[in-house]
């Protein structure tokens, strides 16, 4: 065989191999029909950590489910495909993202991550029969006549009062101060926190200090607050990127009181950014603290680390939305293309919570806050940071 023929034979062999490989891949894909679940949220820019932990949680769980044969809904077993859209924390792009989901025939979407984005996509979702699970707190999204949004976590106006009450009763907190980024989410969370603190009879010594969202040096921001010597400093709606710097600046300015927030945080970020100065920092977590994590949760964390190299503790609260969507569809397969069926099922839905030890249930709540069940039940796990990891301080529930 001369050189030219040899090359030709090799080319034919490689081409044939490629065609066969493509065919077998296609066969693998064709094994189960695909159920697309959407994500519209922020995965770039300063708030990328919020959406990235969301997407990665969904992708980890979807890969796990697909690996074990898919999800049986009614008589059909589906592979789960996560369709993602980065809205860059821009409401206009969030709308474009939700329109893309509608064009792809997707009826269930996780996100957006912030208030204005979640509010902006509401008309698109309602017109196109999409249920969406925002991580945003405006009550109008979840209160009738709105009915397509389901709050994907505990709202600050639910966790804040519980935390302040606990700290008042157990740590003797009397004076409280708030600091927030000058953005809609943190400011609304601060206002809710101030109202809750006043309702509990706490002395609010500062509630008007804010900072630019891109601030990197918080010493000048915190100096006027620290001089007021509050017992508790609340970092309202603080982004994980800012929390360690705020804590560090406060401690270096000599502040010795308590510091808390109502948002989820990441232990490694706190440890790297503030070290032992972050000890005692109180935040809201999810289900992965050793005291309450089930074997399924531990396996989820293991798989997440395997896929993405490093776990993000924010995923403790974000692991739930996809589980709720799939389990509700399992409970009523007619909902797969009809969100009105999904809404009917929400009222009575109940399933075991795979991520927590004990007999915790997945169920929809929100009657007290919204007058209808438009919130997923997530345990309100309040954590205290200690030497590089979170310890469960107390667990509460939202009804």
């Amino acid at each position: 065989m001369n050189r030219r023929n040899a090359l030709k034979s090799m080319a034919i062999a490689v081409s044939a191999g490629a065609i066969l490989a493509a065919g077998s891949l296609g066969a693998a894909w064709a094994a189960n029909p695909v159920l697309k679940i959407g994500f519209v949220g922020v995965t770039s820019g300063p708030a990328a950590a919020w959406g990235t932990s969301n997407v990665r949680s969904m992708q980890t769980r979807a890969a796990w489910l697909n690996e074990t044969g898919g999800v049986k809904i009614g008589d059909t077993t589906y592979d789960i495909q996560i369709v993602t859209f980065d809205d860059q924390k821009d409401p206009k792009r969030a709308i474009a993202g939700m329109e893309k989901m509608a064009q792809e025939g997707i009826h269930y979407v996780v996100g957006p991550n912030v208030d204005d984005g979640a509010a902006a996509v509401r008309p698109v979702a309602e017109q196109n029969g999409i249920m969406y699970f925002p991580y945003a707190f405006p009550k109008a999204l979840y209160t009738a006549p709105a009915s397509n949004a389901v709050l994907g976590m505990i709202a600050s106006y639910q966790s804040g009062p519980a935390i302040y009450k606990y700290l008042k009763e157990h740590k003797g907190v009397k004076k409280i101060a708030f600091v927030a980024a000058n953005e809609s989410d943190p400011l609304s969370q601060r206002d809710g926190g101030v109202a809750a603190a006043k309702a509990l009879g706490l002395d609010v010594v500062s509630d008007n200090v804010t900072y630019q969202v891109d601030t990197t040096d918080f010493t000048p921001v915190l100096t006027p607050i620290i001089k007021l010597r509050p017992d508790l400093l609340v970092l309202s709606g603080v982004a994980p990127a800012n929390a360690p710097q705020l804590i560090r600046s406060a401690r270096e300015l000599g502040y010795q009181g308590l510091i808390s927030t109502e948002t989820a945080q990441d232990a490694k970020v706190l440890q790297e950014g503030a070290g032992e100065l972050a000890n005692g920092f109180i935040s809201v977590g999810g289900a992965s603290t050793p005291e309450i994590a089930s074997d399924t949760m531990k396996e989820f964390v293991r798989r997440y680390v395997k896929m993405f190299g490093e776990y993000n503790d924010e995923s403790n609260t974000k692991v739930y939305a996809l589980e709720y969507i799939l389990d509700t569809l399992k409970a009523n397969p007619a909902a797969i293309n009809d969100v009105s069926e999904f809404k009917k099922t929400m009222d009575t839905f109940s399933a075991p919570n795979p991520y927590m030890k004990g007999d915790s249930k997945l169920k929809y709540v929100g009657m007290t806050s919204f007058g209808q069940k438009r919130q997923i039940f997530v345990p309100m796990v309040v954590n205290e940071f200690k030497n590089g990891e979170f310890k469960t301080l107390f667990i509460a529930e939202v009804d």
């Binding site: 990328a48 891109d214 000599g254 790297e272």
Partner: protein
């Protein structure tokens, strides 16, 4: 008052160092480097990796940040800006290229270092506390001093070295410098590398205080542009003055105006608009460019 002045000086020193690199590149090449903030972030991540992850001495990490960014800057100048400057006379071409480089570096940083905020162990422990009148952690004092020393070293280099003199000649009159035998391409590349190196250096310094994350690049560039506009585009002493003025304004505003909400930057931007309407060339810039 002591606290306000100390905060202002500390902020001013780091801001001035950030602005220096930007203004140097502008002076030499007439390029608005929108990727300057991303270069700062990359410098921070290099120090995070070398000092925070690999456990090597901080000085080594700082050197690694400076060298890495110098190389990145030289490569970007040689293969991107030089090509575009040669082929296009439209100024917006380099601006678009700079914006593209910023997006590209953002994506690279996300892929290499992830989305999380990163931090490193403190380089010096302890806090200077003068009866709560002046509180300043020792690491901030050290970083502030290092920033001022870096600025001084940069000025001396520009003033007395052959390379510095060549770059100053280039900045003053590109054609005249060329006629005098200055190798324009070579010194443009050195200047761009030096500007990027300063961004990397300050990123490496500040990661010990503020940490670093992917989203810091854009806002850092905006602040750097503000300082350059205050001091006068392309003027080294102007960038230093702009940095210290912005730092002091921020420190005073955040203390005096805090009771009125977050209006410090509103006031700074409004003042800047009025100032530029009166003196568009900045404090030390020349009206003719």
């Amino acid at each position: 008052m002591e606290q306000i002045l100390a905060n202002g000086l500390y902020l001013g020193a780091q801001y001035a160092l950030i602005a220096l690199g930007l203004t140097l590149i502008f002076a030499l090449m007439n390029v608005l480097n929108f990727a300057h903030g991303q270069m700062y972030v990359l410098g921070g991540f290099v120090t995070y990796t070398v000092y925070g992850q690999l456990g090597l001495p901080y000085v080594v990490a700082l050197g690694a940040s400076a060298v890495t960014l110098a190389v990145v800057g030289a490569v970007i100048e040689k293969f991107l800006f030089r090509t575009v400057l040669r082929r296009s006379v439209r100024e917006e071409s380099t601006m678009l290229l700079a914006a593209g480089v910023a997006f590209f570096l953002d994506a690279v940083i996300l892929l290499l270092f992830g989305e999380k905020q990163r931090g490193v162990p403190k380089i010096v422990n302890g806090v200077l506390n003068l009866d709560f009148r002046l509180i300043m952690p020792y690491d901030r004092i050290l970083v502030g001093v290092l920033a001022i020393l870096s600025i001084a070293a940069f000025i001396l280099f520009m003033q007395y070295s052959k390379t510095g003199r060549a770059m100053r000649a280039l900045a003053q009159d590109r054609v005249a410098a060329q006629l005098q035998g200055v190798n324009v391409e070579r010194y443009s590349m050195i200047g761009f590398a030096l500007g990027a190196m300063l961004a990397g250096l300050v990123g490496g310094l500040l990661v010990t205080i503020t940490g670093v994350n992917l989203g810091m690049g854009g806002p850092t560039s905006i602040k750097a542009f503000m300082m350059v506009m205050i001091g006068g585009a392309g003027v080294i002493s102007g960038a230093i003055a702009g940095g210290f003025i912005l730092g002091m304004m921020e420190s005073i505003g955040l203390t005096v105006l805090s009771q009125y909400g977050d209006i410090t930057y509103l006031v700074i931007f409004a003042s800047l608009m009025v100032f530029l309407a009166i003196r568009p060339q900045g404090l030390m810039g020349k009206p003719w460019g």
